[in-house]
Each structure stands twice: as structure tokens, then as C-alpha cells.
Amino acid sequence: MIRVNNLDKSFNGKKVLDNISVTFEAGKTNLIIGRSGSGKTVLIKSIAGLHEIDNGEIWFEDIHFNQLDFNSRKEIRKKMGMLFQGSALFDSLTVEQNIRFPLDMFTQQSAEEKIERINFCLNRVDIINANKLFPAELSGGMKKRVAIARAISLNPKYLFCDEPNSGLDPITAIMIDELIKELTEEYQMTTIVNTHDMNSVMKIGEKIVFIHEGVKCWEGTKEEILNSDCEILNDFVFANALAKQLKLSSK
């Protein structure tokens, strides 16, 4: 479980996140939704400790994360996995070396054990015969899947996904969404996914938080989202012509 209390974050005097309080539950796919530039990425990176926050508290279970020093944070970070918007695979390393990297850094496993773990992670994300390829040789969907494999290589307790299906075709996007949901349930992780894709919301969203201009406007489930009274949320959810039509016809 991850708990955020009264989080504020500014860049050069401009407030990007304003008094955000939210709890993300373990074993569930928690979604942060909102328009581009609403502060989703800053929120997820602030929670992960990649941005220092101005005010507020971030709790991982009963650990006050943002009060820890650099070395103590490292211990918590070893339990985190993150899928970045652009995958963030290391260009100079092959697929296998990318997944091996955290294993080399933080485990005492033998070479055989590492290979076994690498192949397990790659099989889990359906990547076959690509161990020796470099990131530049992979498609967008494959890059995302390799990034997921790298993120789960150390059995993380917390998984952060920043727009995991951006730039992907609808079928690959659904595959990535399903994979994230399956892994969350399988490893009982606390997963936070940033997205503005309503397909993802309806497919994998268990708890949904809506951010608008740095302010949390709404939170609830995917069932509640369709009947919300929040106008800004409705504008976002039903911006799509087909969704708008569906809503009108349901009335």
C-alpha cells in the first residue's frame, strides 16, 4: 500500500501538484488519469522519489519514504519497478543485459540462476529469441515488454507505469495493459499506472484517481466513473465521440 498525504510540488515557482492526498491499494491496478500536462507524470515520479516534493508525506506501508536519506531510500527502491513512457532501456546493452543489470547489481545469484531468471522474465512478457538484440532493434511494443521484464526481475513490491501504452497500436496496448494487470495480481504488487487512455481505464482500472491541473478532482472505481457528477471528469471521459454517443443513448 502507498499513501500520499497533502503532496505539493512546484517547478520554478509554478505549482504542478496541489495538495494531493490518495491511497493506492496493494494487489490492485491503481490508475492515475488526466489530460496531458495535468501532472500525472510528476505525481508518479514524486511518489517514486525521482522528484523531491515541496510539502506532504509519502508512505510505503509504514515507512515515511520522503523523510529517508539517499541510502535508506535505496533499500525501498530495490522493491520498486518502473516502466517509463519511452521504455528507458539502456541503449548500449542487449535485451538480456538490460534484465541482467539489476540482478548483477543487487543479487548474489550465480550466472546460471541469472540466466534462468532472465529467461523466466522474458517468457513471462512473451519475448522469445530476442536476448541478444539491442533496444534499437526492437519495436515499440517489444521495448515496453522488455522494460516490464526488467522491472519485475527483482520481484518488486511496487510497480509504477508511466503511460505504458502510449504510442502503441490498440491491440498491443491491450496486451500491455493485460500483462500489467496479470502481474499485479500474480505478485500482489501495488501498481500505479498513469494513463489518458480510456480503454485502459475500462480494461484494467480497479481504483481510479483523476487529476486536473495538478489537483485531484475525483477518485473511485471504473463502475463509478461512468456515472460521476464531476463535470471536468465527464468532459475527459466522454471526449471521445463514440463514448459521448454511448452516454447519450444510455440516457
Binding site: L50, R77, M80, M82, L89
Partner: protein, 247 residues
């Protein structure tokens, strides 16, 4: 002034992070070996070419500017040796390396920053500054003195070949000149300068790359800044070190 002090503070803090205890020394050792090849071995070609022609030009210029029967011709060899030893092999080669290695480091680290690869390292719990920068600093501190040595040797050979082929000096006089009144401390002085310049080039360029904010345009700017700032600092420290070590 405030901007300069802020930058200086950030640079010092980055160095503090760089020189913290490595997570896994074995992995850092591997990285250092890789950087020695990438930043050191791959620079041998350019250092050799530049040093050869530098030595040749110094010899010819010394010869044509000392065409006087009062001066013995072996002084051409001596002038070539001392110019290369005292200034050219350390400072000029450092400026060339600031261009080659400095821009390389800044653009590599800068690209990793804008593509979130540094964030990915941080997320894993890796000290990204130390992992990315420390091996580069150690590699250049170890390897650049060898480049300096190569530069000195090739520079003198270049001078000898140019001098004898053009007929401005006999091979015997040149050899006598480069042995005449030799002060071994000059080699130490040259090596000290090389080590300090290596640290400046690597750390300043890495600093520029590490704090890139934006996209490819900013990476390009960081790369340019890395070359300019490290070149200026090399020249500044050249004056300081010369005063400290030769006075």
C-alpha cells in the same frame, strides 16, 4: 555571480555523489575497463596524428626562426623537446581531448538523462552519478598519462623526421639536442598537468550532461558547453599549475 555559485555548488554536490562508496566494486571495475577502451584506447589515433604534426611544425618553426650562426643547430632539437614536454603534449592534447572525449561524455550522459535512463537507474536504487561518472574519471586519470607519453614520443619523432627530411638539422644534432640539458622533472610536471586536466575534462563534461533538462537540442548545447568550459578551465589551470610547479 549567483548563477555561477549555484552551478559550482551543484558541481561539488555531484562530485560528492560520484565519490561515494560503489554498490558493487566488481561492476565498477568492468565499467572502468570499458571506459578505458572507449575513452582512452580510441583516442590514441587522434593523439598520435596531432602529436606527430605538432612536433614537425615546432621543429621547422624553431629552425626557421633561429637561422643564426651564433645558435648551434642542436638547439632546434632542444626547443622541440621542451615545447612538447612542457606545453604541447599536456595542454594542447588536453584541449583536443576536451573536444573529443568531453563532447562524447556530455552527449552520452545527456541522452541518458533525456531518455529517462538515468531515472531508471535511480529507480533501481543505483547511484547513477557514481555508476556513470566514476568509471570515466578513473579511466581517464589512469589512461591519459599514457596518451601524454605517446604524445611526447610521437611529437619528438615527428620533429626528428621533419627536421631531417627538410634538411634544417642533421639527425645527430637533433638527437644531441633532445638529450642536452634534460630535466627529468619536466616529465613529472607534464604528467601532473595531464592528470589534473583529465579530471577537469571528465568531471566538467559529465556535470554538463548529467544536469541536462529538455530534449535533443539541450543535449547538443550541453555538449558544446562541456567543450567550452573544460577548455577554458584547462587553460586556466595550465597557468596556475605552471606557476605552482615551475616557480
Amino acid at each position: 555571480m549567483i548563477k555561477f555559485l549555484t552551478q559550482l555548488g551543484c558541481y561539488v554536490l555531484l562530485l560528492k555523489k560520484v565519490f561515494s562508496k560503489p554498490e558493487k566494486p566488481k561492476i565498477y571495475y568492468k565499467q572502468t575497463m570499458h571506459e578505458m577502451i572507449y575513452l582512452g584506447l580510441n583516442s590514441i589515433g587522434i593523439v598520435t596524428i596531432i602529436s606527430f604534426f605538432m612536433g614537425a611544425v615546432i621543429t621547422l618553426q624553431t629552425a626557421y626562426n633561429t637561422e643564426n650562426p651564433i645558435y648551434p643547430t642542436y638547439l632546434i632539437g632542444l626547443g622541440c623537446r621542451d615545447s612538447i614536454l612542457l606545453e604541447f603534449s599536456s595542454t594542447i592534447v588536453a584541449l583536443i581531448l576536451a573536444g573529443k572525449v568531453g563532447s562524447n561524455i556530455a552527449s552520452e550522459i545527456g541522452t541518458m538523462r533525456v531518455t529517462e535512463q538515468i531515472d531508471a537507474l535511480e529507480m533501481m536504487g543505483v547511484n547513477s552519478a557514481s555508476y556513470l561518472i566514476l568509471p570515466k574519471i578513473i579511466a581517464t586519470l589512469i589512461f591519459n598519462p599514457f596518451l601524454n607519453l605517446i604524445s611526447i614520443i610521437v611529437g619528438i619523432i615527428g620533429g626528428w623526421i621533419a627536421g631531417t627530411l627538410s634538411g634544417v638539422i642533421t639527425p645527430e644534432d637533433f638527437i644531441y639536442g633532445i638529450q642536452y640539458a634534460f630535466i627529468p622533472y619536466y616529465v613529472t610536471y607534464s604528467m601532473i598537468k595531464t592528470v589534473i586536466f583529465a579530471f577537469i575534462i571528465t568531471s566538467v563534461s559529465a556535470f554538463q550532461g548529467y544536469y541536462v533538462d529538455g530534449g535533443s537540442l539541450e543535449v547538443g548545447r550541453a555538449s558544446t558547453k562541456a567543450v567550452v568550459y573544460s577548455s577554458v578551465l584547462v587553460l586556466l589551470f595550465n597557468v596556475i599549475l605552471t606557476q605552482l610547479l615551475l616557480s
